[in-house]
Symmetry: C2
Subunit: 493 residues, 2 copies
């Protein structure tokens, strides 16, 4: 028994993870309507198989053997990660793991139908089952005395607790609220796009954007889905986007966001990406890649120089006069209902609200039956508008349907990381804006490949970012960048 046996075991787990991802992708893009019940059973069987590999009593033996062989630093990461996953998994009965997978696959279909109908009541029973099972699972995993919610966060962001997130959010909130108030008081309104934006043209533009960002089409594909996402690793990394024929920016920025994720997965170290050490560092780091591409690059002033003629090529007249106006349009600050459409000023307020609600649900302080009411009440308090429809409220995101509690805060963590990465990147690449204005994103990608993608999870997520940027990620960096950008856009003086 050598280190190779541990590597093989970890690769097998990674392979089943990718298959689970493929089942989700297929469900969102290809699966016929009547396949949902079977798909839930398939997802359950796969989760049980993955669970069996994690709880396999041979796994700690493989770790011991690999340890005995004197691993290098990267080998040690694989061993530690295998021990962590094994320790978590042995606390969860196989039957519960399968039940969670089935319940979430079922709830996904129920959510889609309930969202289409705009009725939270249709979704509540399926969500209730997911919550009950995830709470049960979290209670199994959590260390004695630790909050169950933290055990769920740990899945997406190892080493980060709910309390740490809450503290970071407390640091961010005042700056965001103040900036929003100043923008509101400015009385300025951003220009709006007007024109004809047929689906096929939006897809064609998305493909051009994929080219520009360096997406490898031989290792991926683009499809439409209700909730855009990115699935896969290395040689098979698929993205989905969505179309609103009234507003092509939803498609453009969904595509760029998912491209950010996909470029990370395509850019992992091929030698190590299929075990633990070469995988993506965490969801927070993942979101830093998507949000950096979407906001700091895609919604930046320089990129508008390329995007404006590209949109004119795609759609003809678009109702704004040039790159400067397009830049203002893509950065319009408006109090909307939908997180994924939110501007950079509002976005994190959406996340904070979801974080607090889901933490209460998992903590047992808020029932699923009361969730819609709590959402609506909270939204009106934070955003000053009444939610007219569950589609624009509690039903908008897929996350809870698929059991992804503890995921939302990683978006804001990603935003904080992205702001820090952007500052460091610009210090390293002074001519960057000239390249972006030509639609050349390659300096960004090259920098990220070296500093983030290739490193996988060699060190902890926060350390990946700190070593890439030369400092700990600070919420103040994000706030300062937003104040500069929106101060200029809204002439806040």
């Amino acid at each position: 028994m050598t280190a190779a046996a541990l590597t093989e075991h970890l690769r097998r787990i990674s392979a089943l993870d990718r298959v689970a991802g493929l089942l989700n992708w297929d469900q969102e893009t290809q699966m016929p309507r009547r396949g949902a019940a079977q798909r839930a059973e398939e997802a359950g069987a796969l989760a049980a198989a993955r669970h069996a590999l994690l709880v396999d009593p041979r796994l700690p033996e493989l770790c011991d053997a690999a340890e005995g062989a004197g691993p290098d630093a990267r080998g040690a990461v694989d061993i530690a990660e295998a021990r962590r996953l094994h320790a978590r998994a042995v606390r969860v009965p196989e039957r519960l793991a399968a039940a969670v997978a089935e319940a979430t696959a079922t709830a996904h279909g129920v959510w889609e139908a309930a969202k289409a109908a705009g009725r939270f009541a249709d979704f509540a029973p399926a969500l209730g089952r997911v919550v009950a099972l995830r709470r049960e699972e979290a209670a199994c995993i959590a260390d004695a005395g630790a909050p169950p919610y933290d055990a769920l966060v740990e899945e997406h962001e190892p080493g980060v607790t709910g309390a740490q997130i809450a503290a970071m959010f407390d640091e961010l909130r005042p700056g965001l609220v103040a900036l929003r108030a100043r923008i509101g008081a400015s009385g300025r309104a951003a220009p709006r796009l007007r024109g004809d934006f047929p689906t096929e043209r939006q897809i064609a533009l998305s493909r051009r954007i994929g080219d520009v960002f360096g997406y490898d089409w031989d290792a991926g594909r683009l499809d439409l889905a209700v909730h855009p996402s990115c699935t896969g690793r290395l040689g098979d990394v698929r993205i989905t986007t969505r179309i609103n024929e009234a507003n092509p920016l939803e498609c453009v920025y969904s595509t760029i966001h998912e491209l950010g994720h996909a470029l990370y997965e395509q850019g992992l170290d091929p030698e190590a990406a299929l075990t633990s050490v070469g995988g993506a560092a965490s969801m927070g780091v993942h979101e830093s890649q998507s949000r950096l591409m979407e906001n700091q690059i895609g919604r930046g002033r320089a990129f508008a120089e390329w995007l404006y003629p590209a949109m004119r090529d795609a759609f003809g007249e678009i109702g704004v006069a040039g790159p400067e106006e397009l830049y203002a349009a893509v950065n319009a600050v408006e109090t909307g209902f939908i997180r994924t459409e939110a501007d950079e000023v509002h976005y994190n307020l959406h996340v904070m609200m979801r974080f607090e609600l889901e933490r209460a649900v998992i903590g047992g302080d808020l029932s699923v039956a009361d969730l819609e009411g709590a959402w609506n009440e909270r939204f009106e308090r934070d955003f000053g508008r009444a939610v007219p429809d569950a589609r624009l409220g509690v039903l908008q995101d897929v996350h809870w349907a698929v059991g992804a509690f503890g995921y939302f805060p990683t978006y804001t963590l990603g935003n904080v990381y992205a702001a820090e990465l952007d500052a460091a990147l610009r210090a390293d690449a002074p001519g960057l804006d000239a390249a972006l204005a030509r639609g050349d994103v390659s300096p960004v990608l090259a920098w990220l490949r070296r500093r983030v993608h290739r490193r996988g999870r060699e060190v902890a997520p926060a350390a990946i970012i700190a070593e890439a940027t030369g400092c700990e990620a600070r919420p103040a960096t994000l706030i300062a960048a937003l104040e500069r950008k929106f101060g200029a856009l809204y002439a806040l003086g």
Copy 2:
């Protein structure tokens, strides 16, 4: 522990089988080019997980418990099948099972590239690995003294041996050879289609054909693939077809063939289809459903009454004057190189040749290095034409690439079953031709649903057919039907 625990275990195996099917479907229709290596690893991990469920020492205990609970006849079938699968699986080391899955997934991609290039030498190493692993696996499974090839046939056609197949083929061959000779001597040539057959129109016609045959589009979908196939069960049964813009009949009959498979899977008993007893009886029975729809129905005189105007609607002028000429065109007897395009007279001769070659390869009497030469020599002997290109020869079929040795003979078994089913069906439904002429295939489907689909694997495959038709399936029935049909078409007097 009750019978329900056995059912759950069997459903989990069935779910992993479906996931494996989905991976294949995705690989043929959706997967980006660079995903192949990872896909092989995913297929391997999945096969190992399935293998772990089959060898699980709890499985015989679950069988004992279910037995003790006094199962009904259908429950007894599930128990017997679980014991059979367990007994086979425990003879195969987990590592070998995973290696077979990986090698076949790899070989599949290699085969596609080698076929595109027309070079068997490019494929031989990958095929050699598949053959070596499958031989090793067959040697593990086979009972002492039994030929390893029989253990592979058993996977597709439980209870049937290579010797039984050889005997059936010996019974069929003289009649086929004689009929072919008489047709050749007749000097008559069938009319040929001429016209413009764009891909999109062929796909649209395929969809219309799906409607006519009763395919449930909410439980399936149609895509293009190099090698048409059918994947899935009940609520998610997908078919693929292929397009030759010079000859729309390839698409039409590939589609109808796969629809025959798909209607079987969509028509299984929903209460039992996800364990063993409700599944498809065998590949021979499966092929009887596809070949019956393709030949007895789809290439029948009555159906030409519907197909002719449908093709005119799709393509305009098609170069034949009416249903009678179309009927002659779709039944043209010509010595071609490709099995899937072969007429009913030549088809089984293709199968016999593959059966004898693969039996020799698995038996160790023929090496992979010599396979192309053996193919070409044998083809020229049997068909009187030299194979000009490996694309038209040894590289034409996907089966060996994916390790499906012992599968080919089920096509001819299916043809024998189909002829017997057709005779019984027509005796039960005297007005059938009038319905088919209107494009109403529902009497056929209703009869098959009741007599074959819903029965699953309640009894042995041959017994399903015998009970549906009232007699054992006889090669003579097929020969007599072919003599009647082609005797009239070629005025053999």
